[in-house]
Symmetry: C2
């Protein structure tokens, strides 16, 4: 399990992890299994963990006044799940994150992060690279959200994250794209013909 995380870090930062780094990571991250439908965090919680997805699939969403889920992020293998703002600043999260498949995670607590990792150079580099990437992606998603038609959003997702279509049902993809399942169904029917 830990090798997935090591590989992920090594492929993200410039210098490879040392034996000591790897030993430390192995000690501090601990495995956590989530069954389908189990929550990782719930709205109102302060998010005290960051979770690396070794296996499985999760979704992050809010629930509005009518009970409707609005999905903001989808996570599969080698993604980080959590609410970074809540984790970093300590504010309550507005999000739910739950497992859509049975999942295996590697979790680090806020305490361990702060006390044992936050000063290590490989961690700051990892954190900076991932935050920057996240920010670039969000800028593109915001622009898409405001300018593309439903069909264009669908096509863009097929180009950027085709894996999602293998891992999540259509109603979840639809919500992630900011449209209804009916609209996505109609678009798929229409584009299949082309």
């Amino acid at each position: 399990m830990i090798n997935n995380l090591i590989g992920h870090i090594n492929s993200t930062i410039n210098n490879k992890l040392t034996e000591d780094d790897i030993r430390l990571i192995s000690e501090i991250f601990h495995a956590k299994k989530l069954r389908k439908h189990q929550y990782l965090i719930q709205s109102g919680d302060v998010c005290k963990i960051a979770a690396f997805v070794v296996k499985g699939a999760l979704k992050k969403y809010t629930i509005d006044a009518t009970g409707k889920e609005n999905i903001l992020e989808l996570y599969i293998e080698n993604w980080w799940a959590g609410d970074k703002e809540s984790f970093m600043i300590g504010t309550p999260t507005p999000y739910y994150i739950d497992a859509y498949e049975d999942s295996e995670l590697l979790v680090i607590s806020k305490d361990d992060f702060t006390n044992k990792l936050s000063n290590l150079s490989f961690i700051t580099e990892l954190n900076n690279v991932l935050t920057e990437r996240q920010s670039f992606q969000l800028m593109k998603r915001l622009h898409s959200s405001q300018t593309l038609t439903a069909e264009q959003k669908y096509e863009q997702l097929q180009d950027t994250y085709p894996e999602f279509f293998q891992r999540f049902p259509q109603h979840i993809i639809a919500s992630y794209l900011g449209m209804t399942k009916e609209t996505l169904s109609r678009i798929r029917k229409a584009t299949a013909k082309k």
Copy 2:
């Protein structure tokens, strides 16, 4: 001029800038004036500068096939203008940034950033804090874009950045919010009564 930038940095990072830091900043950043309607960057450019707004107002946008502007970000005093992804990675920017008011900027070149600043601890801290903030804001804006009605978007902007309404005309605000100027005009009329 430079004092605005010094003040901004000091209020963003934990430790205050030293005399040496301030001297270096004063040497490396240079003043640039933009007249109303002048471009800071244009689509297709590689963005080789980062600009701190000392005075004025700018907008960042794309232009679609029909010639319509889609505004993604608005900048006023003490904001950073530029395309960070293009600046950092060297890819061509899809955005235009131009001055909506005559503006005074403090600009740093990519070369100077890389060679003279990027290893300084106050710069990495500044960069990390700003990137993280940016990312948190974008997440909220994406969520708002996908879940709020036009009226709710308007009210949220009044709460978060009321200054914008003093500095930009309604058609620019409307585009920033992802709606037409007519819709914004009708919303304002309706909410004024309440």
